[in-house]
C-alpha cells in the first residue's frame, strides 16, 4: 500500500518535472478546432479490427453551435516518437492537433495544462509546507526552550489561529489584497498566506517535544557543562522533532494543494492564462461545461490522486491531525 502511494507520488512528480517533454503543446496555446474537444485516446486496433502501431483518430467538429465532435475513423494519425523534443506527438501535417485529454473552453490542451499546472500547484504547496514547517519550528523552539511568558504568549497566539477555520483566514487575507495580480505576485502571496496559517500546529508539537527534551538528563548535563542555550536547542533539542516534522509535512501538503485549488477556483488565485490545477477547475465552475465536457475535471482527479498517495503512505493522516489538536474540556486553551 505504502509502495503504491510512493509510486503514485513519483509518477505525478515526473509528470510535473517532465512537462515539456510529455507534451508538444504550450499550456496557453489555443486550438481553433479544440474548444471542448473530447479526449483522443491512443489506439492500437483500428476500426477494421486490425492491429496497428499506436495511433490516434483525429476529431472533426460536426456541429459548431452545439460543439459536437465526431471521431474521423477514415484516417489515422500515427504517433511520432521522440521528435521535436517531445516523447510522443503527431506529425505536423496531421488533420487535427492531438489533445490526449481533450480541450477546454478556450481550445487549450487539457493534458498540457494538467502537467504544467502540476508544476505550479505542487511547487506552491511544497514551498508553503516548507515555510510552515520553518515558522512552526522557530516559534515552537523559542517557546519550548524559552518557557515562561514567551512560551505562554506564543502558544496562546497559535491556539487562537488554530481555532479559526483556515480556509476563511486565507480567503479573507487574500481578498484584502488587490484582487487582480500578476502570476509571480500571486505565487509569493499565496505561498506566504498558506504558510502563515499552517504553522501553529507544527509550533505546538515542536514546543511539546523541545520542552520534554529539555528536562532530559543529557540536556541538563550539556547545560551544566557550559553549552550555550541556542546551540543546545539547534544541535540537540530540535533534531528530536524530526519525525514529527515529517508527519506534519504529509498533513500540510494535501491541504495546501487544495487551498491553492480552492483559491484559484473562486478566482482569487492565479490569473487566467496561467495553468494551475485551481485555474483549470474554474472551467468546471459552469455546470453545463461539467456535463458536456467532464474531462475538464481532470485536475480534480489529479488532486484526488495526490491526496490518495499521501494517505496511502502515511495511512489515515487526518486522524492524527485531528486528535493531535484536541484539547481537554475545561482546559480549552483560548
Amino acid at each position: 500500500m505504502r509502495r503504491a502511494g510512493w509510486a503514485l507520488l513519483v509518477a505525478v512528480g515526473i509528470a510535473a518535472l517532465g512537462a515539456p517533454v510529455l507534451t508538444p503543446h504550450s499550456p496557453s496555446e489555443r486550438f481553433d478546432a479544440g474548444v471542448y474537444a473530447p479526449p483522443m485516446p491512443v489506439r492500437v486496433v483500428d476500426a477494421d479490427g486490425r492491429w496497428r502501431a499506436p495511433f490516434v483518430y483525429p476529431v472533426r467538429l460536426v456541429n459548431r453551435l452545439e460543439r459536437r465532435y465526431e471521431e474521423d475513423r477514415s484516417q489515422r494519425m500515427p504517433l511520432v516518437w521522440l521528435s521535436g523534443g517531445t516523447l510522443a506527438g503527431v506529425a505536423g501535417d496531421a488533420p487535427s492537433p492531438w489533445l490526449p485529454l481533450g480541450g477546454d473552453g478556450f481550445g487549450r490542451d487539457v493534458f498540457a495544462r494538467l502537467v504544467y499546472g502540476a508544476r505550479l500547484s505542487l511547487s506552491v504547496a511544497l514551498l508553503a509546507t516548507l515555510g510552515a514547517l520553518l515558522a512552526g519550528t522557530l516559534v515552537g523552539g523559542l517557546a519550548g526552550a524559552g518557557g515562561g511568558v514567551v512560551d505562554d504568549l506564543l502558544m496562546r497566539f497559535s491556539d487562537f489561529i488554530l481555532v479559526l477555520p483556515a480556509m476563511y483566514v486565507v480567503l479573507a487575507l487574500r481578498a484584502a489584497m488587490p484582487l487582480v495580480l500578476t502570476t509571480p505576485a500571486v505565487f509569493v502571496l499565496v505561498t506566504g498566506l498558506m504558510a502563515a496559517v499552517g504553522w501553529p500546529l507544527v509550533a505546538r508539537g515542536v514546543r511539546a517535544i523541545v520542552a520534554a527534551e529539555r528536562e532530559r538528563d543529557y540536556a541538563q548535563a550539556a547545560l551544566s557543562l557550559g553549552m550555550g542555550r541556542t546551540r543546545l536547542l539547534v544541535r540537540h533539542l530540535l533534531p528530536a522533532a524530526r519525525g514529527f516534522l515529517a508527519t506534519q509535512a504529509t498533513l500540510l501538503l494535501p491541504g495546501f494543494i487544495l487551498a491553492e485549488a480552492t483559491l484559484s477556483y473562486v478566482g482569487l488565485g492565479f490569473p487566467d492564462p496561467t495553468a494551475s490545477w485551481g485555474t483549470m477547475l474554474q472551467e468546471a465552475a459552469n455546470v453545463a461545461a461539467i456535463a458536456d465536457a467532464p474531462w475538464t475535471l481532470a485536475p480534480a482527479i489529479a488532486i484526488f490522486a495526490v491526496v490518495l498517495a499521501v494517505n496511502l503512505i502515511v495511512q489515515a493522516p487526518a486522524i492524527q491531525s485531528l486528535s493531535g489538536r484536541s484539547t481537554p474540556p475545561g482546559g480549552t486553551a483560548v
Partner: protein, 337 residues
C-alpha cells in the same frame, strides 16, 4: 448556591464553566469581526468602485463615499461600528442595502442546515462502521478501511465537483439553484421534499471526508479498547460478545470522536465554503465571499461574527458530548486546567 440534590459545588462549577465559555465566545466574536472590518477597510478599493461603475466622475464617487460614511478615518468608523454593534446593530450592507443582521441570519441558517445535516449523516454512517471495522478482522473490516481511505482522499472540492457532474449527467438530482429555505417551513411537504433533494449533493460532498475521519478514529479507539482486560473478563464471564461490544466497549471508545467535534466545526465551516460555492448553496460562505470581493465591510464583519458564534457553539457542543460519554469529566468541567 444549594439545590435540591444538595450538590452546591457542582452547580457553581457548571456556572463557572458556562461563564468561561460565554466569555470566550464573546471575545472570539469581537476579535474576529473587528479584524474582518479593519482588514476590509484597509484593503485597496471600496464599494463605490463597483457601485458607481467605471464611467462615474471622481466627484460622484466622492459623494457616494460621503453618503455611505466611507470618507471618515478608520478609527472613527470603527468606533462608530463597534458602539452600534454593542447594541446588536451591525449596520447596513452597502451592497444589498439591507440590515446586515437579517441578511446574515438568513444565510447562516442555510449554512447551519447544511453543516448540521452533514455532521449528523457523517456520524450516523461513520460511527457504526468504525465500531464494526475496529472490532473485527477480515474482509468486512478491510473493505470499510479501504472505503475510508478513498473517502479521506476526496476533499469536499473534488467530491462536490464530481457529484455535480454525476447529478448533471443522470439528471436525478438538482445541481444547485437552491434559492431560499423559507418556503420549506411554510410550503408543507413538497417544499421539504425540494429542500431534501437540493441537500443531497452538498451534504454528501461535505460529509464524505468527515464520515471517513470519524470511522477511522472510532475503529482505532474500539480496537484499542478491545484489548483492555475488562473486555476479556466480560467475555470470560459469558456476556454475549455483541453486548460487550455495543454496551461495554462503545462507551469508553467513543471519547476520541467526541473530543474532535469542536474541531470538526472549524473544518465543517471551511468545507462548507467550498461546497456552497460549487453547488451554489445560498450560505454564509458565499455571502462572505461576495462581501469580501465588493468590500462591503459591515457585511464582512457580520459574516465573521456569525462564523465566530458557530465556532463557539461547536466548542460547547464538543464539551457537552465529552461530558455525556465520560462521567469522570462531569465534575471537573469548568474546574480549570
Amino acid at each position: 448556591m444549594r439545590d435540591d440534590s444538595g450538590q452546591p459545588c457542582k452547580n457553581t462549577a457548571v456556572a463557572r464553566y458556562l461563564a468561561r465559555r460565554l466569555l470566550f465566545a464573546v471575545l472570539l466574536v469581537a476579535v474576529v469581526s473587528s479584524a474582518a472590518l479593519v482588514l476590509t477597510r484597509l484593503a485597496p478599493g471600496d464599494i463605490t468602485a463597483e457601485q458607481v461603475g467605471t464611467g462615474a466622475s471622481a466627484r460622484a464617487l466622492q459623494a457616494e463615499r460621503l453618503r455611505l460614511g466611507l470618507d471618515r478615518p478608520l478609527a472613527t468608523q470603527y468606533a462608530d461600528w463597534a458602539a452600534r454593534a454593542l447594541r446588536l446593530d451591525f449596520g447596513t450592507s452597502l451592497m444589498y442595502g439591507r440590515p446586515v443582521a437579517g441578511l446574515v441570519a438568513e444565510r447562516a441558517r442555510n449554512t447551519a442546515v447544511l453543516a448540521l445535516v452533514a455532521l449528523a449523516a457523517a456520524t450516523l454512517v461513520g460511527l457504526p462502521l468504525g465500531v464494526i471495522a475496529g472490532s473485527r478482522r477480515g474482509l468486512t473490516s478491510a473493505l470499510i478501511r479501504s472505503a475510508s481511505v478513498l473517502a479521506l482522499s476526496l476533499p469536499s472540492l473534488v467530491s462536490a465537483l464530481l457529484l455535480v457532474w454525476l447529478a448533471a449527467r443522470t439528471g436525478w438530482l438538482p445541481t444547485g439553484g437552491m434559492s431560499a429555505i423559507e418556503p420549506a417551513s411554510a410550503g408543507g411537504w413538497p417544499a421539504w421534499q425540494d429542500l431534501a433533494r437540493h441537500l443531497v449533493v452538498p451534504v454528501v460532498a461535505l460529509a464524505l471526508p468527515l464520515a471517513a475521519t470519524i470511522e477511522r478514529l472510532q475503529a482505532q479507539a474500539v480496537a484499542e479498547t478491545m484489548r483492555e482486560p475488562f473486555v476479556s473478563a466480560a467475555l470470560a464471564r459469558g456476556v454475549p460478545a455483541r453486548r460487550v461490544l455495543w454496551r461495554g466497549v462503545l462507551k469508553p471508545a467513543i471519547r476520541p470522536v467526541a473530543a474532535i467535534y469542536g474541531l470538526i466545526f472549524g473544518s465543517l465551516l471551511s468545507g462548507s465554503f467550498v461546497v456552497e460555492i460549487v453547488t451554489s448553496w445560498p450560505g454564509l460562505g458565499r455571502l462572505m465571499f461576495d462581501a469580501l470581493r465588493s468590500r462591503d465591510l459591515y457585511l464582512v464583519a457580520g459574516c465573521a461574527a456569525a462564523g465566530g458564534v458557530f465556532l463557539a457553539f461547536g466548542g460547547l457542543l464538543s464539551d457537552i458530548a465529552l461530558a455525556a460519554v465520560d462521567p469522570r469529566l462531569r465534575g471537573r468541567v469548568g474546574g480549570g486546567s
